[in-house]
Symmetry: C2
């Protein structure tokens, strides 16, 4: 098992990225890092190989153009490494757009998939919810949302081991007509799709409440919603910790409660999940948090390794093939604009 790791893009610096690679390698995962050899300081570390790379693509660069032009960029080389069979999956903490472009061009899409989607398991207190798309596609057409529903359900069943996952479409009201036009149309297609347990529209509050197993939205709404949720959890935790310093009684209470809260804090720590997974490609690609600490980097690599181990791609592809409706929705661009009126 070998994972290709983009050596650039860690906001906390090369040391943190290198330490993450070290920790993942200590678990027996081979790591091939594409980055600056000297800054990473990983020479001689067992299980880690640095492939010297000095070029990289940043958040300010146009993703598609940069990936096409700069073949020596770390994220492009990591994707090529997987395509050549030197590694089984890739991980990047850098620009989401560049990672998506490099993976889409370098690793290719599963048969029939028009747009890969970025999915993230949300650590809801009740049960994990797979949320997609959280940033790969800022604008979508109805058939893309339909594809995300099938991709998400297949991944949830294959990798998260949810039997017959329920799927909800995120919008501004439960009624079928609520939301942007592409959502109304996607709802119409999904409700008649066999092979999918589509429960209908859900609202923002249903995401943290884990009302369904898979929540489908476009990459703009998903990115904003994910960051709002992470931010709210962080601010609330901070406010509670502040309250626990307001007076001695509260302080004692906070001290007694703290050990039990540790598990909850860990559950909500972005470093725990490791990152998001790009669904719909022929190899696993993990987009880690730019702000990751060493554990976040290591967990992103571990997430990639685990996904390879359970054959996430193969099982997702098989489930997509099995579902007749899924296949139809995936293969036929025209499905989204049928000749008939609303059902």
């Amino acid at each position: 098992m070998t994972i290709a790791l983009d050596g650039f893009g860690a906001e906390q610096g090369f040391d943190v990225l290198a330490e993450g690679a070290r920790r993942a390698a200590a678990d027996g995962i081979g790591v091939r890092v594409f980055g600056p050899e000297r800054s990473l300081g990983l020479s001689g570390v067992e299980g880690v190989e640095v492939i010297p790379t000095t070029e990289w693509i940043g958040n300010e660069d146009d993703p598609v153009h940069s990936v096409r032009e700069r073949k020596e960029a770390s994220v492009v080389r990591a994707a090529a490494d997987v395509a050549e069979g030197n590694a089984q999956a890739m991980v990047s903490l850098g620009s989401t757009g560049a990672t998506m472009a490099a993976a889409t061009f370098g690793l290719r899409r599963l048969k029939g998939v028009q747009r890969p989607a970025l999915a993230v398991p949300i650590p809801s207190p009740k049960k994990p919810v797979l949320f997609l798309d959280v940033g790969a596609n800022v604008e979508v057409r109805p058939q893309h949302l339909v594809q995300f529903a099938f991709l998400g359900a297949a991944f949830s069943a294959a990798v998260m081991e949810v039997r017959e996952p329920t799927v909800g479409l995120l919008t501004v009201g439960e009624e079928a007509g609520k939301g942007r036009p592409e959502i109304v149309e996607a709802h119409r297609i999904l409700k008649d799709s066999p092979g999918l347990d589509f429960v209908g529209n859900i609202e923002g509050g249903d995401l943290p409440a884990a009302k369904v197993d898979v929540v489908v939205t476009d990459g703009f709404t998903g990115n904003v919603a994910l960051k709002v949720m992470e931010g709210a959890a962080k601010e609330l935790a901070g406010a509670i910790s502040e309250v626990a310093h307001q007076n001695p009684i509260a302080a004692v209470g906070g001290m007694l409660l703290k050990p039990s809260l540790g598990g909850l804090r860990k559950k909500f720590d972005p470093d725990t999940t490791g990152g998001a997974i790009l669904l719909g490609l022929r190899a696993v690609t993990i987009v880690g948090h730019g702000s990751s600490g060493p554990d976040g980097v290591a967990n992103a690599v571990r997430m990639a390794a685990r996904s390879v181990r359970v054959d996430a791609v193969g099982r997702t592809a098989a489930l997509l093939r099995e579902g007749g409706a899924g296949r139809a929705a995936l293969a036929d661009e025209g499905t989204a604009e049928p000749a008939g009126g609303p059902a």
Copy 2:
């Protein structure tokens, strides 16, 4: 001071709505309730007058069509009551779409305002943030987002007493080119708008972190983001309370901490704020939470009364007139598509 209150739409029933009206009236606010006389049971309550109304518009009805056709519906009559001068502001806990349509048709827009926006003060731990649009306009053009920025800044300054409020545009990255096309275009106009402290793009996490005083977005994204945030706070509070029941030490800690947490809980309780305010109209309209308890109803009426007392509409209109750029952006549809290229 008299407020027109829609007597339908309270999910917890007529008793809860009636009790809210009673509590607001006890503060010396006159309340005219449009609803079923017998179910409300408010006869003889000082300061409360029930105007018998049996027709209403629900979430499943088409808002614009229903408001046009059903002149006897409670929310339409409440708006007419304000237009006729019997009340100074209106409050509804019912369908947001119907309330907006009734208010827009019945109360009319401020000069130059194309689309009213629904704004809500977010109870961030750090400072209140005005967030708009949270549901009035599912689809927007660039100039609508520009108008929301000016409306929000004016309300923040006039009513929330923020000196020179900072304004941010909610999207998926800090760089100017990030987001849907209408956001990129709105950013371009806003950054050259004098009379507005536009700080640029902000991301989802900046909303709960209160990075700016006014956060601007479309009504779809705003509605989803608001409900995600409220839901996350609720789920996290529930998870913490569950942890405090896991073992005796944690339970004692929870007990000691509880009194201090009360203030925080109250701050985040949707009933505390009372609701959202529709900006851009010639009279105050408050959209309360459908799920409000008696305090939520009373606080929605109090919010309406307070907004009238500080002359929210007059001061917002004056601030809009003063800001030359604001006036230009508001008055001229063409401002959004100037002849020149990007600056």
